[in-house]
């Protein structure tokens, strides 16, 4: 089993500028069999029928979980969100008995259309990027995942070939030197989630 798990989610990988080279680089850089596993969610589940058991199994084996996807409308692509809804289940990832992800690392690899400058009070997005990533960081906290500093490429569709290659090289380098660059801070206390506060929103099949 792989101790690095990369989950890629791009609804149209064939026309992707950033996600595809990153995914290819990750595949090429996988250090021997079993070390890094890539799962292309849109290829695995073109019909949105996520195999929850298989996903959870892959997660359990990993030490580092990488999410690789473009930022669409200030959030993750639909299938990635469905993955979060279904795979990070109550009683497994969080809530009473939900210990499966505890202590693992979560690293976001993403790209935005807007330039870096647009993610500021003066820019047209009016808020810093961190504000938009709040659901990510809180999701990580709730599951006891350590949130690593995300690797972002802004203005992705305008990035030149050279900039892109630089970005990919930077990613490969960081991947290779993991976990040296990770912040060495103590794990923050997990928020307590009472059993009756968070119903299992999704199971693999809605009840009849």
């Amino acid at each position: 089993m792989a101790d690095i798990l990369l989950l890629a989610a791009h609804p149209d990988l064939a026309t992707s500028h950033v996600t595809r080279p990153l995914l290819e680089a990750a595949r090429a850089a996988s250090h021997g069999p079993g070390h890094l596993q890539t799962r292309d969610l849109y290829a695995l589940y073109p019909d949105y029928a996520i195999d929850v058991a298989a996903e959870q199994q892959a997660l359990e084996a990993a030490r580092l979980v990488i999410w690789l996807h473009p930022l669409h409308w200030y959030g993750m692509p639909a299938l990635m969100k469905l993955w979060v809804d279904e795979v990070l289940a109550f009683g497994w990832a969080y809530g009473p008995g939900g210990q499966a992800l505890r202590g693992k690392d979560l690293w976001l690899l993403s790209s935005t259309g807007g330039a870096a400058s647009s993610y500021s009070a003066e820019g047209h997005n009016e808020h810093p990027i961190e504000s938009f990533l709040l659901p990510y960081t809180q999701t990580a906290r709730l599951c006891g995942l350590r949130w690593l500093p995300p690797l972002l490429l802004h203005g992705a569709h305008r990035a030149s070939e050279v900039e892109l290659q630089q970005h990919v090289r930077g990613f490969v380098q960081q991947l290779g030197s993991y976990p040296q660059w990770c912040p060495r801070r103590p794990e923050p206390p997990r928020p307590e989630v009472p059993q009756d506060a968070r119903p299992a929103l999704f199971s693999s099949v809605e009840p009849l």
């Binding site: 019909d47 029928a49 059993q195 009756d196 506060a197 968070r198 119903p199 299992a200 929103l201 199971s203 693999s204 099949v205 809605e206 009840p207 009849l208």
Partner: protein, 611 residues
């Protein structure tokens, strides 16, 4: 020496068949011509290795009997009943029409009317054996031409009794007491058919079931042979043709659960005996007659073929048969038939014709049998492409090598959907379909569809199978589909096959052939209907979709589990039952969990689910 002698004949026959048939097939002449030629070479007029061909003919007629039984097996009573008009209408037209034409010709040449009548009837018959064997060899049994040939052949078998009864009457010319005898015979014939029908319905199936339960394969084979021979000899004993009896027995068992087993058990016997039959016919050809009166024989041959061809061509037009199928229909029925031999024999016994005339007639008929495979081949080369073009305007015959990366075999309801979707997205495909009318219609709508049978290797090659990437296997016929899949695997290993499975067995057999991308044709549309039902019952559309998808996944997993067992029926049934049970348990479990969740405090359904 004794054993040496008994081994002698089978040795000759087997050797001849093993040499002649592959040779004939290699020359693309068809196995029947191979057998016939082998027979001529072995027979008294050439090498003389076999001295008494007529006794062998008697034994070999069993081949024809078995073949008729197998033809009957393919024909449920319902379909036979639906064919009654074709049998009695077109069949009678062929027999009486041909006889009338031939008789007219004979009378023109100043022949006595009695001789003319009997000989014409004998010549009007066609060889059921050759016709049906050719249809089977070319897989044409279910085409319009195939069905029409069968109809006419059936009527000829039925008509055999009155024709045989007629010979002595004509010979004696108006001796009154014969009438009563033939009336009595007809009564016996009807009685025998009733016995066979009722017996088949009431006794045959339970008996087979009882025998099958003994689990001794060779006893079941023996029982199968017994059924055929029993029915045949019952019919024979009342003066009907043995082949007709076997055919009726086959029809009676067409709906039984043992149909497939009977087929596989009898097939090898049929093949070998039929081959022997054709060899015996070849041996019967008296080459001496050809030397002594070549003109008479050739004139008879010409008269026989021309008259019948004229009538059959007109019939095909009247029947509105698809153009490309007409040559087969005409040629298969234009030949003479083995039944003619019997008629001429009888006529000679009744002193209507002399021995020389008899052998000339027999030679003419045998020659027509030998000509037929060659003529068919000729028509394939020359006529069919033209006719195909005539029916399918604009070059529908596939002649130029095609380059498209996708080949779609079968452009019926299934293939069309795939083809339309590909075209709509700008992908090129070469489309093959063997239904000439459908091809014509599709071409009118601007599709580049070619007329052709994708089970033919050369056609697949022309369609570009050697360099194409994908073969979409969407033909209706399961046997064809498997044949094409096997061809693709053997000759074009680079082709990725995307196949349509008509049913589970088909699915498994495709997988056996290494095909991986198989869809069961009804699964997804049925699941969509199931979703509609769930929605009507009040489920949310999305929940219905998920349930359907889950069911689908489970079904596919089940198929994977069943695949290794599919040849073992008992294990398959047990595993299927187990699978169904598992799915039910799974759903029940989920319903239970859902109920538990609903009971949980703090979550009321109306406002539930918000973080």
């Amino acid at each position: 020496m004794e054993t040496g002698h008994t081994l002698h004949l089978p040795l000759i026959f087997m050797a001849a068949a093993v040499i002649a048939v592959p040779l004939a097939r290699w020359l693309r002449l068809g196995s029947i011509l191979g057998y016939l030629v082998a027979g001529v070479i072995l027979g008294p007029s050439a090498l003389g290795l076999v001295s008494d061909p007529s006794t062998i003919l008697e034994l070999a007629e069993l081949g024809v009997v078995l073949m008729m039984f197998l033809v009957g097996l393919e024909l449920e009573p319902k379909r036979l009943w639906a064919m009654r008009r074709a049998v009695f209408g077109w069949g009678s037209l062929q027999l009486l029409g041909s006889a009338a034409l031939l008789m007219g010709l004979a009378l023109l040449f100043q022949q006595p009317w009695r001789v003319s009548l009997v000989v014409s009837l004998g010549l009007a018959m066609s060889s059921t054996a050759v016709a049906l064997a050719v249809l089977a060899e070319r897989n044409l049994g279910r085409t319009t031409a195939g069905q029409s040939v069968l109809s006419v052949a059936l009527l000829q078998d039925i008509a055999a009794i009155p024709v045989l009864a007629l010979v002595p009457i004509v010979a004696l010319s108006g001796a009154g007491h014969e009438e009563g005898a033939s009336g009595w015979q007809a009564l016996k014939a009807v009685g025998a058919m009733l016995v066979l029908g009722l017996g088949g319905r009431l006794a045959l199936r339970p008996a087979l079931r009882w025998i099958a339960r003994s689990k001794t394969p060779e006893i079941f084979t023996a029982a199968a042979l017994l059924v055929v021979l029993g029915a045949a000899s019952l019919m024979h004993s009342v003066g009907l043709s043995a082949a007709l009896g076997a055919f009726l027995a086959g029809v009676l068992l067409a709906e039984s659960e043992y149909r497939r087993e009977l087929e596989t058990d009898l097939e090898p016997f049929k093949g070998l005996l039929l081959g022997l039959f054709f060899m015996a016919v070849g041996m019967g050809l008296d080459l001496a007659v050809l030397r002594q009166q070549p003109l008479l024989v050739l004139a008879l041959l010409a008269a026989l073929m021309v008259c019948k061809t004229l009538l059959l061509t007109a019939m095909a037009a009247l029947m509105k048969m698809p153009m490309p199928e007409r040559p087969v229909f005409v040629l298969l029925l234009a030949q003479g038939g083995e039944f003619g031999f019997v008629v001429f024999q009888l006529a000679q016994q009744a002193n209507l014709i002399d021995a020389d005339q008899n052998s000339a007639l027999v030679a003419a008929v045998a020659l027509s049998l030998a000509c037929t495979p060659a003529l068919l081949l000729l028509s394939d080369r020359l006529l069919t492409p033209k006719l195909g073009r005539k029916a399918v305007p604009g070059g529908a015959a596939l002649e130029q090598p095609q380059q498209a990366p996708i080949i779609i075999a079968g452009f019926g309801r299934y293939g069309q959907i795939i083809g339309r979707m590909l075209y709509a997205n700008g992908f090129e495909a070469t489309v093959l379909d063997h239904d000439a009318e459908a091809v014509a219609a599709l071409r009118r709508f601007g599709w580049s569809v070619y007329f052709g049978d994708a089970t033919r290797l050369d056609l697949l090659r022309t369609a570009g199978a050697a360099q194409a990437r994908i073969l979409v296997l969407a033909v209706d016929d399961i046997a064809h589909s498997l044949e094409i899949a096997a061809l693709a695997r053997q000759h074009f290993p680079q082709l990725q096959v995307v196949a349509r499975a008509r049913n589970l067995q088909h699915y498994f057999r495709l997988r056996d052939l290494g095909v991986r991308l198989i869809e069961r044709e009804t699964l997804d549309s049925a699941l969509m209907s199931a979703r509609s039902v769930l929605e009507l019952l009040g489920l949310e559309p999305h929940a219905a979709r998920k349930l359907a998808w889950r069911f689908r996944q489970h079904t596919l997993e089940q198929l994977d589990l069943l695949f290794p067992l599919y040849k073992d029926e008992a294990a398959l049934t047990a595993a299927t039952r187990r699978g169904r049970q598992q799915l039910e348990e799974l759903f029940a479990q989920e319903r239970e969990q859902a109920a538990l969740r609903r009971q949980r405090r703090g979550w009321e359904k109306p406002d539930g689910g918000s973080h």
